[in-house]
């Protein structure tokens, strides 16, 4: 067998690998879509589940999911963005920066179930916040912190140096340069990172199940409990009580995640077009 044939076969296998990933994603999306689309009615989206088989809608779980994600976002964004500003603009390479990066990497790879247990121990047991949206949001913010930090740091580093020089040349201080020049230029990419982190939070299960609880309840105050869409899907699927509603919930979850992904992608593309 000549090298040409080996080459052809090998390239064929690599093509197959690339296509397999697309096919797997397509299969998951199409399957969930076909089985779930029949479920999606205004009633399903807006009313609460009732009865032993959780008939009716999943309204409260949608509210709880958006509530806990939004609150986590509010908690994590200022800290993560300012931390990234420090790492990208102020930090001097050294032991401290190494420790911070190691911590962020570790935080990014801690299994979500560990974060869930930790959240339970700290926010439920020690701080007495109970199963609540606030506990869930605090625990989720630990999960989102490294994601937002990394995205923001990369966004800041991608801002061309000469823009900063222009600002310094005009006599601006460091903070003026960062706040008026660097952060606005990095904003689209920071937003992309925030949106992707929100996607992670919406899809998270193990963290919220032990911090926000499993009670089906429409949370109003941050101290109210709630059940996220993911926890609802998990419960329905494991108990096998209402598979139709499970398909509907899975479809809505996928739609939300896809929307987050597409809008992040659109934002990034628009940013490239404006610059290029």
């Amino acid at each position: 067998m000549g090298k040409r044939w080996t080459n052809r076969i090998a390239l064929g296998v690599l093509w197959l690998c690339g296509l397999t990933t697309v096919v797997v994603l397509g299969a998951v999306i199409v399957y969930v879509f076909i089985r779930g689309i029949g479920q999606i009615t205004p009633e399903f989206i807006f009313t609460a589940p009732h009865g032993v088989n959780a008939e009716g809608g999943i309204g409260p779980t949608i509210v709880a999911t958006i509530y806990v994600t939004g609150l986590a976002m509010l908690i994590v964004t200022p800290i993560a963005v300012l931390a990234a500003v420090y790492l990208a603009e102020y930090a001097v390479q050294g032991r401290l920066v190494n420790t911070i990066r190691f911590a962020a990497d570790t935080l990014a790879s801690v299994p979500s179930i560990v974060m869930g247990l930790f959240g339970f121990a700290l926010f439920y047991e020690v701080m007495g916040l109970g199963f609540s949206v606030l506990s869930g949001a605090l625990a989720l913010s630990f999960l989102m912190l490294p994601i937002v930090m990394r995205a923001t740091e990369e966004a800041i580093r991608a801002v061309p140096r000469f823009i900063r020089w222009g600002s310094y040349g005009l006599g601006a201080s460091k903070w003026q340069t960062v706040s008026k020049i660097v952060l606005p230029s990095a904003m689209p990419r920071i937003l992309t990172g925030l949106i992707l982190a929100m996607g992670r939070a919406v899809g998270e299960t193990a963290v919220v199940i032990f911090t926000m609880g499993q009670a089906i309840y429409t949370p109003i105050s941050p101290l109210d409990p709630g059940r996220s869409m993911t926890v609802h899907l998990y419960t329905l699927a494991m108990e096998g009580i209402n598979m139709d509603a499970a398909y509907g919930t899975a479809l809505l979850l996928m739609v939300m995640i896809l929307l987050f992904n597409v809008s992040a992608r659109w934002l990034a593309a628009r940013n490239r077009r404006l610059k290029g």
Binding site: F102, V110, P111, G203, T230, L253
Partner: protein, 306 residues
Amino acid sequence: MTEPEQTGRGRVNGGLKMMSRATYIREALLKNLFLLCAIVAVAAVALIFVFTTARGWEVVKDPGLAAFLGGTEWSSTLGRFGILPLVVGTLAITLGSLVLGAPLAIGTAVFLSEIASPRMRSIVRPAVEMLAGVPSVVYGFFGLVILRPIAAELTGGMGFGTLTASVILAVMIVPTIATLTEDALGSVPPGIREASYAMGATTWQTIYKVLLPAAKIGIIDATILGMGRAIGETMAVVMVAGNAPQFFKGLGAPIATLTSQIVIDMSYATGTHKTALFGLAIILFLISMGLVALVRALSRLNAKKA
């Protein structure tokens, strides 16, 4: 990258002479505020470690460190909390997912970086990124309703177990490994490729003999992080593994992992049982931190060599 003279102390001090005292103080305060925010990341890791350890360290007293780490039985009704069956379960599923997922992911990365036309790339790369965004419960659900019946057909059991869990996890670790491998391939200097092609090598020969060896450390890093993802993955595994804390009895037999046992038991655990669950969390935390440290050590080694 910002160059050192811009971020270094010398330049800042030099520049600040021109400022009013108020500006100087404000700048210094802000800098320290940002530093504080960055330290939150360190504090977060410390908090997680301290609280899981505080709740779990008593496993060394009851059931005792030897019985916990070396015990061959996990049974809450008998009060035995030995983690070996769970460790074996985690190992079996992780190994299975790496065997299936790593070649697929590395192949996809090579395809993206070396073969695909820009048009193909614009389809495959978003697909890989979106695979990373699919929630783990949705993967678990998909595995439960689609893969489980197929696995039941193949293995003759219920379909819950190592096979189903490995296939689902393989898909879940593809984005991690593929993205990082593509980065590693992208940082191989183009000159090396051109030299190989100029010698008359085919695309495959260039990939196999030049690019993969050059990106070796990066690919190992990617695989280690994918492994970390597989070890830590929880909900998808709970939904398809069958959750029986027994030793590996074949691809089709139910099994439990370190993560899945926590989810299953947490709803009713009390006393020693709950302490043991936090003990599992400590072990998972140490594994993930160890893997990150390993990856960083490897990268440093790589940077030194280059």
